[in-house]
Amino acid sequence: MIRLEQVTKQFGGNRVLDKVDLEVRDGETLVIVGPSGVGKSVTLKLMVRLLTPDQGRVTVNGEIISALDGRSLEIAREKFGMLFQGGALLQWLTVGENVALPLREKTNLSEAEIVARVREKLELVGLQDDYEKWPADLSGGMRKRAGLARAVVENPRIILYDEPTSGLDPVSSRLIDDLINSLRRQMNVTSVVVTHDLHSALAIGDRITMINDGAIVETASPARFIESKNPAVKQFLAAQYITRRGVWEEGSS
């Protein structure tokens, strides 16, 4: 379980998060939505201690990750896999080498075992024929899928997704949504997804949390979220032409 307790984060004079409480339950997919620049990605990075809260604390399975450093932080981070916005693949390694990187650097697996594991994960994301390709030769969607294969190659318990569908065409976006759902089914992982794509959020989330003006304004199941009376949520839904339940139910079926 990931828990943010009274977390405040400020950049210069801009208070991005103000005493935020948030809980991610084991095995669920929590989607964090909100307009650009409200602190969605900041929240995600706080969970894996890429950022440190100014006040409050972040715990993962009871361990205060926001206070860890050095080797203990490295051990705590082994629970996590993270998909970054652009995939964050190392440009001088092939797709296969990128996915194999954590295994080669941190395990004593034989080369044959590593290659087998990498091929399995690449197949999972539909890139089984792209092992030898360079990141620069991949499309945006393929790069994200390769990043996802790398994020899950060590079979983490928690996967963080930072804008997994941003910059993708609708077909690729739905492909990524399906991947998130299938990964959750196959690996039984806890997932936290940051997105501003509400169609995606409604299709993959067990719960949806909306951040606005540094605070959480709504946390609810997709069905309840779409019925929310909160003005910020209503405005956000209307901006993406989601005004009634049927729209997303038809879309996700």
Binding site: G12, G86, A88
Partner: protein, 270 residues
């Protein structure tokens, strides 16, 4: 931990605030660079691992072999200019056969390591800063940290080892070329025979001179890598940030080479 929270400072309210910040921030940067160096030093035993070994050899090739052309030209012409300038003056006293001594001492003690350091700071240092900066803004460094792969071990250490091995060798190479360049000018322009030139060149130089020169080069090499990696890891805000990191790397490296070069000379020769 390489990834740090971005730092924001309000505009300085008065000259005292400005002065304080202008003093504290560089000290803080230097402290972080030293910590990065120590982290890379701590990771040194990993250099014998298969991947790190391969990466180190690759870095030695890109840092060393690819710098040879420019270094050769600069070293040879440095020796030639030294020979010409000193030769013209010494000729007034009929002492032009002593240019060998002047060129050799200048190249081995100062100009060899100094020119090597400056060239590597401009070429290799800027390249490292640009690469690390790009990786930083594209979240590749963050991805390494989340994978619990220490960037100091994975990225800094192989470059540090490669540079520490290559700079003394390149400095030695530039000394040889400089002295030979000086000899060419001595023979063709000043009429100093080859034999006389090289006899004079070897007359006063001692092993200690070579040792101090190569030590200087090693220190310069280590400084360049640490400064470049630290500046790269500090890059923010996309391409502009990467450009700034590269620019700062070259400036700080040049200043550090001058400063440290002086103090090493003072330590061994004063």
């Amino acid at each position: 931990m390489i990834i740090r929270d971005p730092e924001f400072y309000p505009p300085p309210e008065n000259p005292v605030t400005w002065l304080g910040r202008a003093t504290v921030n560089p000290c803080r940067g230097a402290g972080r660079a030293v910590l990065l160096f120590l982290a890379a030093l701590k990771a040194m035993p990993h250099v014998f691992g298969k991947r790190a070994r391969k990466e180190t050899v690759y870095q030695m090739f890109t840092m060393g072999i690819k710098s040879l052309t420019v270094l050769s030209v600069v070293a040879a012409f440095t020796g030639m200019i030294l020979a010409l300038q000193t030769g013209i003056e010494l000729r007034r006293f009929g002492q032009e056969e002593n240019i060998g001594t002047a060129v050799m001492m200048s190249m081995v003690r100062e100009m060899g390591p100094f020119m090597t350091g400056l060239i590597l700071a401009a070429s290799v240092g800027s390249a490292i800063a640009a690469q690390m900066g790009t990786m930083m803004v594209q979240e590749e460094i963050a991805a390494l940290e989340v994978m619990s792969i220490n960037p100091a071990r994975f990225l800094v250490m192989p470059r540090l080892v490669a540079m520490a091995l290559m700079t003394p060798l390149l400095s030695f190479y530039s000394c040889i070329l400089g002295v030979v360049g000086g000899g060419v000018v001595g023979y063709t322009q000043l009429g100093v025979p080859w034999g006389v030139y090289f006899d004079n060149a070897m007359l006063y130089v001692v092993n200690r001179d070579l040792f101090v020169g190569m030590l200087k080069a090693l220190i310069f090499g280590v400084m360049i890598v640490v400064i470049a990696c630290h500046q790269g890891f500090s890059a923010r805000n996309g391409a502009v940030g990467v450009g700034n990191a590269t620019r700062r790397t070259v400036i700080i490296s040049f200043l550090s080479i001058l400063l440290v070069g002086y103090f090493v000379t003072r330590l061994f020769y004063y």
